[in-house]
């Protein structure tokens, strides 16, 4: 078979590529395409709002491939979640450690920045799938059943952040740190969700897609809120 034959064949077949492609051809091939399609669809309508056939169609492959590669629909969801959770957790841990080792005295704002920046940078400059992924995480984070998977992957990062925060504000009770993180998480995920609530609310004055604006403000907001909350709890004699 000449090169020409191969090309002509590839063009002529309607359902392209039955059979086995190269093994280590990650991303371009069916498994990666399924993950991409599922990621986007799950982010739009959630787990129950998407059918396996919709995912397969969007990926341009047959439904059965989902069950071959992921066992079932839940397995596909887990695959979507894990694919980006692992590198995110890794880069965020590096960011937090680099911050601690690269500075003399840690600050609240610095710690929060080291925690938030990896996500914002990925959303801004990573491949477009990251935006869908964060929208998906924002959704299931506000879901009763989503807790399991959220905690399994992300709790380590959070505890690392909290340890640093405690060094930034010595004597601050753990309890206050956890509450503060909870508030931070809510704000951050809404900012990363891509829902553009603020655009509509402000009639275009604020643009949710302008993540640089969001980053700067989220930083001073969370840091300021954190300090104010700890101070108030102290003054009230509760902490």
């Amino acid at each position: 078979m000449t090169k020409l034959d191969h090309k002509a064949l590839a063009k002529s077949r309607k359902k392209p590529g039955r059979g086995r492609p190269k093994q280590s051809d990650e991303g371009v091939k069916a498994r990666g395409r399924l993950l991409d399609a599922a990621e986007s669809l799950f982010a739009e309508r959630g787990f129950y709002g998407v059918t396996t056939r919709q995912v397969a169609d969007a990926a341009g492959v047959d439904v059965a491939l989902i069950y071959y590669h992921f066992e079932n629909k839940s397995g596909l969801f887990d695959g979507v979640f894990e694919r980006r959770a692992r590198p995110l957790v890794s880069v965020r841990r590096d960011s937090l450690r680099a911050y601690v080792e690269g500075t003399g005295a840690v600050t609240v704002e610095g710690a929060v920045a080291a925690f938030i920046n990896p996500m914002i940078d990925l959303s801004l400059h990573g491949d477009p799938g990251w935006k869908s992924y964060f929208a998906l995480v924002a959704q299931i984070d506000n879901t009763p059943w989503g807790g399991e998977i959220i905690h399994r992957f992300f709790d380590d990062n959070v505890h690392e952040l909290i340890d640093i925060l405690q060094r930034a504000v010595p004597g601050s009770p753990k309890k206050e740190l956890y509450w503060a993180y909870n508030f931070l998480a809510g704000s951050m995920m809404l900012a990363l969700s891509g829902t553009e609530r603020v655009d509509r609310l402000s009639e275009g004055l604020c643009r949710a897609k302008d993540l640089e604006s969001a980053r700067r403000r989220l930083l001073s907001y969370c840091a300021g809120g954190f300090v104010a909350m700890i101070t108030a709890e102290r003054l009230s004699g509760r902490a």
Copy 2:
């Protein structure tokens, strides 16, 4: 038919209560039961994660009643959302106005309190359905398709809050106010979602159900964050 006959009949029939009940028997009857059941189920698994039959079973009535009372599944969802949105918006508007009229100089913390307190009070002391309702709102607020209904009902309240905040911090740009509200909304909805993320994260140190703790901290956190953010934007010469 004697009274006795009626009682005996009511006891003997397995599928209770075919036929027409009193008209203005709100809440106890099928329509209200359907709303209650749907509210709870939608809050747990979202719109797509619940089937009309599950709702009907939970309400103890036949599926067809959903379509009689609400036209279709979306109508049922709208019914669930609106039933509590209207009184909530009303009580929150009253709270905001009462605060403005009852105080000499408005403060950020006071305005935020007037906005948040009605929700926390309803969750704490209102009928249990309010908890499900807030969990539902928290979910769809982080959803792409949820924006429509959220804005339709709640934007008025938000604009009222923002007007007051602008009086509390004269000269603060609208843009900053909208960003601040966005952050506040994220934190607040996560706190009201009932997901108990903070419980597990803090290993029981914080209890999400302790809404009094959450209220106090949310207040100082949001007020402090708001002021810090505005200050930072001013100092950076951007505002």
